[in-house]
């Protein structure tokens, strides 16, 4: 293809050079936008992270918070409040938000549906069932509940993968089966709760609402460790994801091993959401909205996994600020994300149906 084309189908003579220049300009603007958005989000997340540690019954200045977190100062009372009380919650919001945001956008792009968030396709319900059964039937506490939730999420994901498998996994079937599995698990959760003692039922219900404050140090360490591996992996997998978005046939034609890439992406996304849920309980809607918000900021069909993860973290930090500090009585984080997320879901259902893009 070294010959220049002589035929143009339009009156205005556009040469390949002009087109290449236009494309180059396009790409430069897109890269610039993506860098600005990603950096802006990172700064916002860092600011919110510090802010959540400043407010409370004992107000601390930003510089003191930063100095204390980085072990640059030695002020026992500030250190106690910041490192002992507030840092674990803030770190938990940050880590859970990153995990949910990344996981949600991978699911949505892979299954080509904005509704395909892990909240709806049974993974969160699987975690919830295992955790509630653990609390009610085995009187499990702390780390054991997290372990059960993690196991439940993974079993639910495998179950769906097996049920949805037919010469590969198609997006639509995965979503429908996921919704079916979610309803089934939710029914079982209801049944288990009716068998519970009052105090256990209370504890289980609290877990099911989702709260970043409930994370223990060991759970948090596990999540952060996993994020350090899974988040870079997810960012690397962005490349095959861009090909898979075009459908399996095109992806293979472009040189992507479709099944292998999808398995790697699903595995990463499932691990991320399972860990997040096991640490904080099912915090709804963050995974659903993070990807679309990131896309709004970046431009259509860009699907950046890192920006979506950052949006997830920002959302959860804000939700935590609202839940704990702005409301008259502190509420679990899941209540706040639910209250904000439900109207979005309605809007999404209405608009996707109107565009006929619901599938």
């Amino acid at each position: 293809m070294t010959t220049t084309t002589t035929t143009t189908t339009t009156d205005t003579a556009v040469t390949p050079l002009d087109v290449a220049a236009a494309l180059r300009g396009n790409r430069r603007r897109r890269v610039a936008r993506s860098v600005v958005v990603t950096c802006g989000l990172a700064v916002a997340v860092a600011a919110l992270f510090v802010l959540t540690m400043m407010v409370g019954s004992f107000r601390i200045g930003a510089s003191e918070v930063i100095a204390s977190v980085l072990h640059l100062s030695d002020n026992p009372s500030v250190d106690f409040v910041v490192r002992g009380l507030r840092l674990p919650t803030a770190a938990s919001a940050l880590a859970v938000g990153l995990a949910l945001g990344a996981s949600g956008t991978i699911f949505q792009q892979l299954l080509r549906n904005p509704l395909a968030s892990p909240d709806f396709v049974g993974i969160t319900s699987g975690a919830g069932l295992a955790a509630v059964a653990g609390i009610v039937l085995l009187q499990a506490t702390g780390l054991a509940i997290s372990g059960l939730a993690l196991g439940g999420a993974i079993v639910a994901a495998l179950l769906m993968y097996l049920l949805a498998w037919r010469d590969g996994v198609s997006g639509y079937r995965f979503i429908l089966i996921g919704i079916g599995v979610a309803v089934f698990f939710d029914g079982l959760i209801g049944y288990v709760l009716t068998r519970a003692q009052l105090s256990e039922a209370r504890q289980a219900t609290h877990w099911l609402t989702g709260s970043i404050g409930q994370a223990s140090t060991s759970e948090l360490r596990l999540l952060i460790g996993a994020l350090l591996v899974l988040l870079p992996l997810a960012i690397l997998l962005q490349r095959p994801l861009r090909a898979l978005e075009l459908g399996d046939d095109t992806a293979r034609t472009l040189g992507t091993p479709a099944e292998l890439s999808r398995a790697a992406l699903l595995g990463t996304a499932i691990a991320l959401v399972a860990l997040a849920v096991s640490v904080a309980g099912p915090i709804v809607f963050v995974a659903l909205v993070a990807g679309p918000i990131a896309n709004r900021l970046l431009g259509p069909a860009t699907g950046g996994i890192l920006p979506a993860a950052l949006v997830g973290a920002a959302l959860l930090l804000v939700a935590d600020l609202v839940a704990v500090h702005l409301l008259p009585t502190p509420l679990p984080t899941g209540v706040v994300t639910g209250a904000v997320g439900a109207p979005y879901l309605l809007w999404l259902l209405i608009t996707t149906n109107r565009q006929g893009a619901g599938g």
Binding site: T3, T5, R112
Partner: protein, 257 residues
């Protein structure tokens, strides 16, 4: 010489065998059309040749090596395919979609070079879609959209290009326009093109080589003027007809009796 050929190729889905023991040689630098009735296995054969379907038996050879033993990414640099119903991500623009055709030429870290821009620009130019670059795919007409998909396959810059029923859903004007485009590409760059077509008249008019299939096997193969006869059409499509020379090109034209 033939870079792409099959030997004893058997393909199928689940329990069903669709084509069996096919020996096909795709002539280099030519346009080959695979024609046949619905469900005769022509798309299956194309999918097999593009390694979208693993052989049940036999093999597909690309440059003398079995396709199944080559790396997916290496195949993608030589052999491109436009599927029958490609899917575009929501909201994607023409420039972005066509650019994704460069995927096999980019590594995990080497991302976007001047050469890539030029290849995308050439593909847009060749398909007459350069004016559309900032338009979302969703807003395009059927004819424009199909041209953009062809542009994506062209941006892949492969020596061989397979197209699975690219004229479906297009009106007659756009069908002819698309086939003219393929002819021009073939003439200008010597690209080997294989195309699954329904319309025997268009196949005869625009293609150099015909492969006629019925019930999963090849019934006839060769230049349209040699291959297309009333008996063949009767055999392949079950239609009794007259074959007359096309008044413009002299190629065989079918008129139902």
């Amino acid at each position: 010489m033939t870079r792409l050929r099959t030997e004893n190729l058997t393909l199928g889905y689940d329990e069903r065998t669709v084509v069996s023991n096919l020996d096909v040689e795709v002539p280099d630098g030519r346009i080959t059309a695979i024609v046949g009735a619905n469900a005769c296995g022509k798309s299956t054969l194309l999918r097999g040749m593009a390694r979208l379907l693993a052989p049940r038996g036999g093999a597909v050879y690309l440059d003398g090596k079995a396709l199944a033993e080559l790396r997916t990414l290496d195949v993608a640099k030589v052999l491109g395919l436009l599927p029958q119903t490609p899917v575009a991500p929501d909201g994607i623009t023409v420039a972005d979609l066509v650019a994704r055709g460069r995927y096999p030429h980019q590594g995990w870290f080497r991302r976007w070079t001047e050469h890539d821009h030029e290849a995308v620009a050439r593909a847009l130019e060749a398909t007459g879609s350069a004016e559309l670059i900032n338009r979302p795919i969703r807003e395009l007409s059927g004819g424009q959209r199909q041209r953009v998909w062809v542009a994506m396959a062209l941006a892949q810059d492969t020596d061989l290009l397979l197209l699975d029923e690219p004229t479906t859903y297009l009106d007659i004007n756009h069908q002819v326009e698309l086939l003219r485009l393929l002819r021009r590409l073939n003439a200008e760059s010597g690209k080997t093109i294989v195309i699954v077509l329904h319309d025997l008249n268009l196949a005869g008019r625009f293609c150099d080589h015909l492969i006629a299939m019925a019930d999963g096997s090849i019934v006839a193969e060769g230049a349209p003027t040699d291959v297309v006869t009333a008996e063949l059409v009767e055999k392949v499509f079950g239609l009794s007809c007259l074959v007359v020379p096309d008044p413009v090109s002299g190629t065989p034209m079918i008129v139902p009796a």
